[in-house]
Amino acid sequence: MKKIILIVQVLIVFSVLSCQKSDELPTDPIIGLGGDVWVPGEIDAFIEDNFIKTYNIEVKYKWDPYEVNYNRTLVPPDEERVIPVLEAVRDIWMKPYEKLGGGGFLKTYALSKFVLVGSAEYQSNGTIILGTAEGGTKITLFVVNDFEPTNRAEVIRMLHTIHHEFAHILHQTIDYPQAWRGLSSQWYTATWFNSTNAQANAQGLITAYAKAAEREDFVETIAFLLVEGQAAFDAVVAANPDVANIFRTKEELVVSYYRDVLNIDFRELQAEVSAAIQSITAPQS
């Protein structure tokens, strides 16, 4: 019996040792590991200098179906529009925040990725999406192909989208004040698109889209105050005296959110953004 056990043990050792072999690890690179590569051009250099080296923000302007809603028809940006859009983003969104919030501000409330899309995203209910923010890190900007720096309305539309989405990132990091709850709760609806801006204004909401949800109301108010500006906000309030107190409460809450949470003087931020829009849209003389 012991003999048999011994033989079996030897055999097992033998069979284990006999299969020891040393294969080399494959050296072929895994395709697409680390992202797609292409020969970099002028736009890639601009992104490298202004977004990656400075803020570690990736800007995707070439088509990537996995970054967007795959069951919608979308088109990639026209290369001619990419740098003007990114310059506007840098000058009207990043620089004002950085100036007032300090050099580290955009690193604290950091974005990791911008995705640019040439067209709008058309929804089945007839509305179009101009921008989305996801998970506090990624902003997708649509309708890049219609951007024209000298067209003030177009610059305001695009920058409204960016400030709107960045405000989402802010409140996704630190929530907006509880006092916001209940101010306009009765007006929030999934079918916000059945209201015009004027109807929404009369209900104490700054745009029709602000009726979509509480958080949309919050960020629309911020974006409107920053991009359309205080004068435009005051005009809306003046035209709707019945709900003036709601507008003013919201304005106060925004200012105090920026002061208490972000340590930014909202009034100065408004002035910076307004000056930046002016310098981008007005031809330099």
Partner: protein, 434 residues
């Protein structure tokens, strides 16, 4: 009982022992197959495709057949730095001026060619109706990322990843140089003169056969209509534009006759006739007719029941003059659309979309059709929408007057969801929808 168990036990041990011996002896006998890693193969294929695309001295002629219908001819010149220069036989400017954009080959499930920044090709996919001329959110249902299905040295066959459009890349030869697309575009414009004959109806005589024929140069389709009134036959196919004729995507077969191309058009606009060659060899002639060659009795029904927004780029054509009411001069004109069941109570519209898509104006009515193949637009409720101004309103009113003619219209299908409507009372009046 016990003895047999013992025997079994011994036998088992022997079997196990021999089994182990056998295992040991054979364990390392194996045939090494030189398996390649998938990534290696993918990398090689991508490099091979890229070399193939970038080493064609005259570039590639691209024939794109969007899933939404129609045919479009392109020229692509690929360079190794991920750049591609595109010309398109879509309009005169695109045919002459190349636009540079980028491309890349991506290892998706099937290796795909991505045209990854905007160029002429993307206009067909653009969800903005003002850019594509198609439906909002869909464009013309085309593609700009394609799986490479089939490769030979001179031809690549590709299929769109989103909508399944077909793209054929054919290596350009020496006489398909920088001006080839322009020549092809101009040739297609020349072929379009058969649509400028006085009446809408054309027939083609090939040897002893005669067919009704429509060449739609807007979406590049050719249609043959034949048979009898009770046994109507229709053949539609897209075509590719060349600089001496048009090549049918699907050959037309009728008995012994197979038509693969129509070439060498010689159009006599004053005589309302054109001579040409079929398949580069058989003489044929296109003649203009005041009355229908044959009536497609089912076409009005097919057109009406489809839930589709039909779009016209010119409005009403009359006796060889496109856009007789000059609706295209309305500021920011996008297109004219016919939409059955636009309103929930089954009222239909023929809206002119202007002001870059912001405004519409046009008649509201109901569509009726009969077994004779005639559709008419009655129960006219008047115009609805935004007044385009005193200078332009008559154009809409004139269109509405023609549209609501109680005699009605014949319909001829020229492609997927593409129909020509021809006035029953006057064969010179027609509207082309896509």
């Amino acid at each position: 009982m016990q003895a047999s168990m013992l025997l079994n036990n011994l036998r088992m041990k022997k079997i196990i022992g021999y089994g182990l011996l056998l295992l040991t002896a054979t364990a390392c006998k194996k045939q090494e197959v030189a398996w390649e890693r998938p990534d290696k193969k993918l990398g090689e294929l991508i490099a091979q495709y890229e070399t193939q695309l970038t080493t064609a001295p005259n570039g590639w002629i691209g024939y794109l057949f969007p899933e939404g219908g129609g045919g479009y001819t392109f020229k692509f010149v690929f360079t190794p730095d991920n750049r591609v220069r595109t010309q398109a036989a879509m309009n005169a400017a695109y045919a002459t001026t190349a636009k540079e954009s980028s491309y890349r080959l991506k290892a998706t499930q099937v290796i795909s060619l991505y045209f990854d920044s905007y160029s002429y090709l993307h206009e067909l996919s653009d969800p903005d109706p003002a850019k594509s001329g198609g439906a909002a959110g869909q464009g013309l249902v085309s593609d700009f990322e394609f799986s490479i299905l089939n490769v030979s040295p001179d031809t690549l066959r590709l299929k769109g990843n989103l909508n399944g459009s077909e793209l054929l890349l054919v290596r350009a030869n020496a006489n398909q140089g920088a001006d080839y697309i322009e020549r092809a575009f101009l040739y297609n414009q020349y072929v379009n003169e058969v649509n400028g004959f006085s009446n809408y109806f054309n027939k083609i005589e090939i040897a002893d056969r005669t067919y009704g024929i429509t060449i739609n140069t807007e979406i590049n389709t050719v249609s043959f209509y034949y048979g009898s009134d009770d046994d109507f036959k229709r053949f539609n196919t897209e075509y590719a534009v060349a600089d001496d004729g048009i090549i049918l995507r699907t050959p037309f077969n009728d008995g012994a006759l197979t038509i693969t191309s129509l070439n060498d058009f010689d159009i006599e606009p004053d005589e309302y006739r054109a001579t040409l060659k079929v398949n580069d060899e058989i003489d044929a002639v296109i003649l203009n007719l005041p009355e229908p060659f044959i009536i497609d009795r089912d076409a009005p029904r097919r057109m009406y029941i489809e839930s589709y927004v039909y779009s016209s780029s010119t409005g009403v054509n009359f006796s060889g003059t496109f856009d007789i009411f000059d609706v295209r001069s309305i500021p920011g004109f996008v297109r004219m659309v016919y939409e059955p069941r636009y309103y929930v109570d089954n009222y239909d519209i023929l809206f002119t979309v202007f002001n870059n898509g912001a405004n519409t104006v046009g008649p509201v009515f109901r569509t009726a059709f009969n077994s004779e193949g005639i559709m008419d637009f009655s129960n006219y409720l008047g115009l609805s929408g935004t007044n385009p101004g005193a200078a332009h309103l008559p154009k809409i009113q004139n269109t509405a007057a023609i549209w609501t003619d109680p005699e009605g219209f014949y319909a001829y299908q020229t492609g997927k969801n593409a129909y020509d409507l021809v006035s029953v009372s006057d064969g010179r009046i027609w509207i082309r929808f896509r």
